[in-house]
């Protein structure tokens, strides 16, 4: 079982480039038709160098380009089948646009127990920087581990 000793543990950095084709696949999947995300002229008119990514796409990029998918789960010996997403937070500090190359640095920022040990909450904080070293965003993901067998 994951405990406080995991706090501070870091995982492999992930490097991800914002590619227009796979971003379009994401937009199409969501029926996202906001021209800001699709049209270069609209994006530059709004002050961006190129179309920006939708707010939750940073979470996807970190997963998409991870050398080891769900590394934090295997590293902490957590069964994927017992995990639910509890909370997610994004703090945006600077624009992220098509063509950027981002580096994600994930680490464990918290571990707590709920419902008398039936659930463990693990918080993973990820710092995101771009190709110029600009700190563009912070992500915080809380996963819920169901320790007890569901009835």
């Amino acid at each position: 079982m994951v405990d406080q000793s995991a706090v501070g543990r870091e995982f492999m950095p992930v490097t991800a480039r914002i590619e227009p084709g796979r971003l379009r696949f994401f937009l199409d999947t969501l029926g996202e038709n906001n021209p800001l995300y699709r049209d270069a002229a609209t994006a530059t008119g709004a002050g961006y160098a190129a179309p920006p990514v939708p707010p939750t796409y940073l979470f996807c990029l970190e997963m998409m380009d991870a050398a080891v998918p769900f590394e934090f789960l295997t590293a902490l010996n957590i069964d994927l089948a017992r995990v639910l997403h509890g909370e997610q937070r994004f703090d945006f500090h600077a624009p992220v646009v098509v063509g950027d190359t981002l580096t994600f640095l994930p680490r464990v920022t918290g571990v707590s127990e709920k419902k008398g040990g039936a659930m463990t909450l693990v918080v993973i904080g990820t710092r995101v920087t771009n190709q110029n070293g600009v700190h563009v965003a912070d992500l915080s993901r809380t996963v819920v581990i169901r320790n007890a067998r569901p009835s």
Partner: protein
């Protein structure tokens, strides 16, 4: 322009969640957790069926949000995944102005966000900080 406390500024409805959408999202998002697309795996894990990625629902909420407020003004966006979103769920995303706040020295509105299904059950509850 100063928004009014309690004013609803975000509102968008989405088509029902299908297995096909979950399969597409699996590929488009890079989240390949089989629990959302593989019925055998979901049953083995104790669930009656596959269910939506929480992040698909949050992506819909984000879409509703940046339809209503300019994306460059978004400072933070957070949600709690209150309940599992089932297949067939027809989601409605809403956001109300909760309060006006100073956030890192900037005048902002805090929006209270919810995503509900067709039965009115809350699936996501969250907030966004938007610069005025």
């Amino acid at each position: 322009m100063t928004p009014t406390i309690g004013e609803r500024i975000v509102h968008k409805e989405f088509p029902p969640i299908t297995r096909h959408r979950l399969a597409l999202y699996c590929g488009a998002s890079g989240d390949h957790n089989p629990i959302h697309v593989d019925l055998d795996f979901a049953k083995q894990a104790g669930f009656p069926d596959v269910f939506s990625h929480g992040m698909l629902v949050m992506a819909y909420l984000g879409q509703a949000l940046t339809d209503a407020v300019p994306a460059p003004r978004l400072r933070s966006f957070s949600t709690r995944f209150v309940a599992i979103t089932q297949l067939g769920a027809k989601l409605t995303c809403e956001g109300h102005v909760a309060e006006l706040v100073d956030y890192n020295g900037e005048r902002c509105a805090k929006l209270a966000l919810t995503t509900r299904d067709q039965n009115g059950d809350v699936k996501l509850s969250g907030e966004a900080i938007v610069a005025l």
